[in-house]
């Protein structure tokens, strides 16, 4: 059940064993992913089927929502996932992320042992339901203020960002291969997120889990370079700041 060539200390291995004992025996990572992406794909089909004769100006909502989602992802990670808060659900999010996900992987060992471990990275399916409900008011307000297309494009973008988040984060926790090493954005995030898993800096650096835009914007990246350099950095360690440790 564990990696044969695991690259870490006994503490991490003991935690991984303990965590796996808490998971129901029937858990199936493929079923977990199937449910999340089936809901996501059906929702996306439903939203897209409502788009009619989109004008160019209506597409402006897509990049704006994309950047706002990126900042939201950064803020949730920095201020909820890594800081214990008292509003409903926040403690559970903190526990699941800081006390489970970050104990399961460190910067030296970022890999799952198999699909039975996927649960430690993929959110439970109810997270997608909550994010969908959070997006519905935006859909209604934008449809009332601007047009139906703007509302539907908004919710298309928020749902897409959620599905991209799950995919990108998953890619950070699988073994290296040709695709991951050479795929733009994916390779960047793999290095970015592995650096974040260093327990000494996890509350300060590299909070984005899709594209490191907000990390660049709010200077919480371990890199010293511009936005494009951040996005296409890949595995390079040439621009790492000296004061991140």
């Amino acid at each position: 059940m564990e990696l044969k060539d695991i690259r870490s200390n006994g503490k991490l291995i003991k935690f991984r064993t303990s965590y796996r004992e808490q998971i129901d025996g029937w858990y199936n990572g493929f079923l977990h992913v199937f449910i999340i992406y089936s809901i996501g794909a059906l929702l996306m089909f439903y939203y897209i089927s409502h788009l009619r004769n989109i004008s160019i100006w209506e597409f402006i909502v897509v990049p704006i929502t994309f950047v706002l989602c990126n900042i939201f992802e950064w803020a949730i990670h920095k201020y909820v996932m890594h800081k214990p808060r008292n509003f409903p659900g926040a403690r559970a999010i903190y526990s699941r992320h800081t006390q489970q996900h970050h104990q399961f992987f460190d910067h030296k060992e970022m890999r799952f042992a198999g699909p039975h471990d996927w649960r430690v990275t993929f959110f439970p399916p109810y997270a997608l339901i909550i994010f969908t409900f959070m997006s519905i008011p935006g859909l209604i307000i934008l449809a009332l203020i601007f047009s139906n297309n703007v509302g539907w494009l908004f919710i298309c973008t928020t749902t897409s960002m959620y599905l991209i988040y799950e995919f990108m984060h998953f890619c950070c926790h699988v073994g290296d291969n040709v695709f991951l090493r050479n795929m733009p954005f994916v390779n960047t995030l793999r290095r970015h997120h592995a650096a974040h898993h260093n327990l000494g800096v996890m509350t300060k650096w590299n909070m984005n889990l899709t594209f490191p835009i907000a990390d660049w914007l709010f200077n919480t990246s371990d890199l010293k370079r511009g936005l494009l350099g951040h996005l296409f950095n890949g595995y390079s360690e040439k621009y790492i700041k000296n004061n991140t440790d």
Binding site: K14, F15, I35, Y46, Y126, I129, I130, I136
Partner: protein, 61 residues
């Protein structure tokens, strides 16, 4: 997630699905009605089938 919250979320999923199905029925979009039924079904399965890890995970010192 506590059972109480799951019940609330399940209720919200069903309520929203019923409302959307009603609007789609008015618009005669039968395929959309079935799509929403499938989404609601998958959401409820997802809510109840994947419980959080049970018990407290021990941290070795």
């Amino acid at each position: 997630m506590p059972t109480k919250n799951k019940i609330i979320l399940t209720f919200l999923v069903i309520l929203t699905a019923v409302l959307i199905i009603f609007f789609e029925y008015v618009e005669s979009n039968i395929s959309h009605m079935w799509l929403i039924i499938m989404v609601a079904f998958l959401m409820i399965i997802g809510l109840w089938v994947f419980p959080e890890a049970k018990g407290k995970i021990t941290h070795e010192k």
